[in-house]
């Protein structure tokens, strides 16, 4: 593998700085990307990864310093110019035109022509060729909207490599993929690497670095902490470089809390939309219960139905042994059950409102009298939670939009701590959150547990579930297909339940 890497630098970043009003996003960054390598960029949110990528891709210029592309001065003024120079990016959010076909999307910028018309035959043949390269077997004329997320990503990659591509930048490519899809993506990257492609790979999943990377660069607070060959460094070292201090482990698990056999929340014969099966399970006092399963196994749908966010077609929900009737989220909140949704930006927070307003959103009655808001009290309460959860913000008047992902998630937790919820359901609690903040959120969960709350976690990150749960139940196609206790935690066993192979 190493022989594909030669030492010539394709991209040299020299002393680049970038300031935004009030923030220094990049300070004096220098980095060489070698031709034909997979270079992994890691760092906490706000460390400067995306600013760096945006400078390379022509979204905005750097304030000082310069970039050399194969030794030639390179300063793209527009994303278009960067593309023409052979720098291609695949973002987390796709840029596909969903009503157009796969072929039209891939060759959107350079459709083959026959006179004034599109040369359909050539378009078809070229598409088949490039789809084969990325190992995607779909009809070129199929509209993109009918594809799955993984397939769409492959279309994006196909689009990127269909024309001149010298450097391919992948931004969190595995965030929404299943394990088998991830390994296929890695195969494609390896093949393309053999062909001489250079890849810059951005990820929060540190273990991926060893699967795919040649070298890794760690960024922190707009500066480069170091660039190492993946062979010379292990995960704890990377994490220490990222957060700037030593961490004992990625997941805190506190043995002093023992789960009991007393159920807090019982779900009996729950039926949800578009699934013929019944779901039953119980959350016990003092435990963190994890729900594992593949994408599409109806984990999110199930917790949303418990919370009343979506319709429940049948079944019972018992809280502390008493049956409760939850028809809307309002009912659930009044019973002390809360849901921290997977998409916190669009469902958990009001981004354009202040932090204090967000924290009091579910407990507005506690800071108001006779329908009038007591602003002083609201502020005091918000400040209390900001301090106890260590939310990093200049003040509680800050708009939530301006907080980092980890602090946004803490704001959601603060909202529900203030409402004094007894059962907290976390759906993908740490997606898109950097390592340091992740750790703090796990600690918060333990803090909640110590106050007698029950915690239910839905996550696609098996390591996370195995790291912090007492017990994991596995979902498969809308049913509970298995249960694993902490002493028996084993990735293979959970996946077997998830795929339902014995």
């Amino acid at each position: 593998m190493m022989n594909a890497v030669n030492d010539a630098n394709i991209l040299s970043i020299k002393n680049v700085s970038k300031n935004f009003p009030g923030v220094c996003a990049l300070s004096d960054v220098s980095l060489d990307i070698r031709k034909g390598e997979v270079h992994v960029l890691v760092g906490e949110n706000g460390a400067g990864k995306s600013t760096l990528i945006k400078i390379i891709c022509g979204f905005h210029p750097g304030d000082s310093g310069e970039v050399l592309l194969e030794g030639v001065h390179y300063a793209p003024e527009t994303p278009r110019a960067a593309m023409d120079a052979g720098i291609r990016v695949v973002y987390q959010e796709f840029n596909l035109l969903s009503y157009l076909s796969v072929a039209e999307n891939i060759f959107f910028d350079h459709l083959p022509r026959k006179g004034p018309l599109v040369d359909k035959k050539k378009l078809h043949d070229d598409t088949v060729k490039v789809l084969r390269r990325v190992g995607l077997d779909v009809d070129p004329w199929q509209p993109v909207e009918l594809l799955g997320v993984a397939q769409m990503q492959l279309v994006e990659i196909a689009k990127a490599i269909s024309s001149k591509c010298r450097v391919l930048i992948l931004d969190e490519p595995t965030a929404t993929l299943s394990p088998s899809e991830i390994s296929r993506l890695f195969d494609i990257i390896r093949t393309e690497k053999q062909e001489g492609l250079t890849v810059i790979y951005i990820s929060h999943h540190l273990n991926e670095i060893y699967d795919i990377g040649d070298r890794v660069t760690v960024l922190r607070n707009g500066e480069i902490v170091g660039t190492k060959s993946v062979k010379e460094i292990d995960i704890p070292q990377i994490v220490s470089m990222m957060v700037g201090r030593q961490m004992e482990s990625e997941y805190p698990f506190m043995d002093e809390f023992k789960q009991t056999d007393i159920p807090i929340l019982e779900v009996k014969r729950l039926r949800i939309a578009a699934s013929p099966h019944e779901i039953s399970f119980a959350l016990k006092q003092g435990e963190i219960l994890g729900i594992a399963g593949l994408v599409g196994s109806k984990r999110t749908e199930t917790v949303r139905a418990i919370f009343g966010a979506d319709a429940r077609l049948g079944g019972e929900i018992l809280l502390n042994g008493k049956m409760i009737n939850i028809l809307t989220p309002k009912d659930a909140v009044e019973h002390g059950i809360c849901l921290l949704t997977e998409d916190r930006k669009s469902q958990g927070l009001i981004l354009d409102m202040q932090l204090d307003c967000n924290i009091s959103l579910a407990s507005i009655d506690k800071v108001s009298k006779l329908g009038l808001i007591d602003y002083g009290e609201e502020r005091r309460q918000a400040e209390r939670f900001t301090a106890s959860l260590a939310i990093k913000t200049p003040s509680v008047s800050q708009l939530v939009r301006n907080l980092s992902g980890g602090n946004q998630q803490k704001a959601v937790i603060a909202k529900w701590m203030f409402s004094d919820a007894n059962v907290l359901i976390f759906d993908e609690p740490t997606r898109g959150i950097d390592v340091g903040a992740k750790y703090e959120i796990y600690l918060l969960m333990w803090d909640l547990l110590s106050r007698g709350k029950g915690i239910l976690i839905v996550s696609s990150d098996l390591n996370e579930l195995m790291g912090i749960c007492h017990r994991i139940i596995v979902f498969s196609e809308g049913q509970v297909s298995g249960e694993v206790l902490r002493p028996e935690f084993e990735q293979e066993r959970i996946l077997r339940y998830a795929y339902r192979v014995s």
Binding site: Q347, I350, M353, L361, L372
Partner: protein
């Protein structure tokens, strides 16, 4: 420090006021009679009705909705109030309050219908209120037999010309309404929810609130302000007619939008709306006093509305830099 805070508040709540002040200055210089007490008082009268409707419209637009029916509902309210007030069997002391009540009730009923249909069947308010626009117009023509109602009691008409220190009563009512509305939006839980829902309805719902109630209430408030505007209309012109109010929705929406309220909801203020209504009123008045022809006036008014909103986007940037 404090001046910065004041500047920030100015920019946020009333930044568009700069445009108003500028317009007033220009007219004062170029139009000799513009800056007279009498003329200012006239402008106050002329913007009152639009201001009152725009207050209700602001609530609806803050939630990301729109109410196109205000013009014809206004006509319906005037006719119902007119029928009540001219009923000979009623003693005057009862007829006037009953007329006000009838007008407000009719407006609120229409608002309730708008809001309920929008929420019950999840239809955008644009469509529902467009339907209401026609229904209310048809209903008022039916009820009134397409006749104008006039000759209200003298006591009632006398209210319309009341003024204190040159400030007309109906304008005082409009300003009071703006202040009450501003208080509700900024200080109460209800107001907080209006902004929150306008920003992100799903997040509010998932935080355990019944968002539908707030949304329906906003339409009812809008209906109530239309009912009040109908009374002001009758006070000002002493007439109730089934064909009045055409295009009033556009003036009200214009006032709200010029005032800085975002059409997609969640951002804006009633002080802005008042200034927006004042800008429209000052333009109509000032340009006419300049002796500009009707066509030229329309062109200039339209252009200044667009310009005001463009200036507003710069204001937003400025306030961001300050914060």
């Amino acid at each position: 420090m404090d001046t910065k805070k004041i500047a920030y508040l100015m920019l946020n709540e009333a930044g568009i006021g700069v445009v108003l002040v500028f317009l007033c200055l220009v007219f004062s210089v170029f139009v000799p009679k513009f800056a007279t007490m009498n003329n200012i008082s006239n402008i106050f009268t002329q913007i009152s009705i639009n201001t009152v409707i725009a207050v209700g419209m602001t609530f609806v637009i803050l939630l990301g909705g729109i109410d196109l029916s205000v013009g014809s509902v206004l006509a319906l309210c005037t006719i119902l109030a007119g029928l009540t007030i001219t009923k000979e069997t009623l003693p005057l002391g009862a007829a006037i309050p009953l007329a006000v009540l009838a007008s407000m009730a009719a407006g609120m009923a229409c608002g309730l219908f708008n809001g309920w249909v929008c929420e019950r069947w999840k239809i955008h308010s644009f469509v529902v209120t467009l339907g209401m626009l026609n229904m209310a117009r048809g209903a008022v023509l039916q009820v009134s037999n397409s006749r104008t109602i006039y000759s209200f009691p003298k006591e009632f008409n006398a209210f319309g010309t009341l003024s204190y220190y040159g400030i007309p009563l109906i304008f005082i009512i409009a300003v009071l309404l703006v202040l009450i509305g501003h208080f509700i939006l900024k200080k109460t839980v209800f107001g907080r929810m209006i902004y929150a829902i306008g920003n992100n309805e799903e997040a509010v719902r998932l935080s355990g609130h019944n968002t539908k109630i707030y949304k329906v209430t906003a339409f009812v408030i809008c209906g109530a302000t239309v009912g009040l505007a109908a009374i002001l209309y009758m006070l000002r012109l002493n007439i109730a007619s089934p064909i009045l109010g055409n295009g009033f929705e556009l003036s009200a929406i214009a006032a709200v939008v010029i005032g800085g309220t975002s059409m997609s909801g969640g951002k804006g203020s009633l002080i802005g709306t008042l200034i927006g209504a004042a800008i429209i009123g000052v333009l109509n008045n000032g340009l006419l006093l300049m002796g500009m022809s009707d066509f030229a006036r329309q062109i200039v008014t339209g252009a200044i509305i667009v310009a005001a909103v463009i200036i507003d986007t710069y204001r937003a940037r400025l306030s961001k830099m300050l914060s």
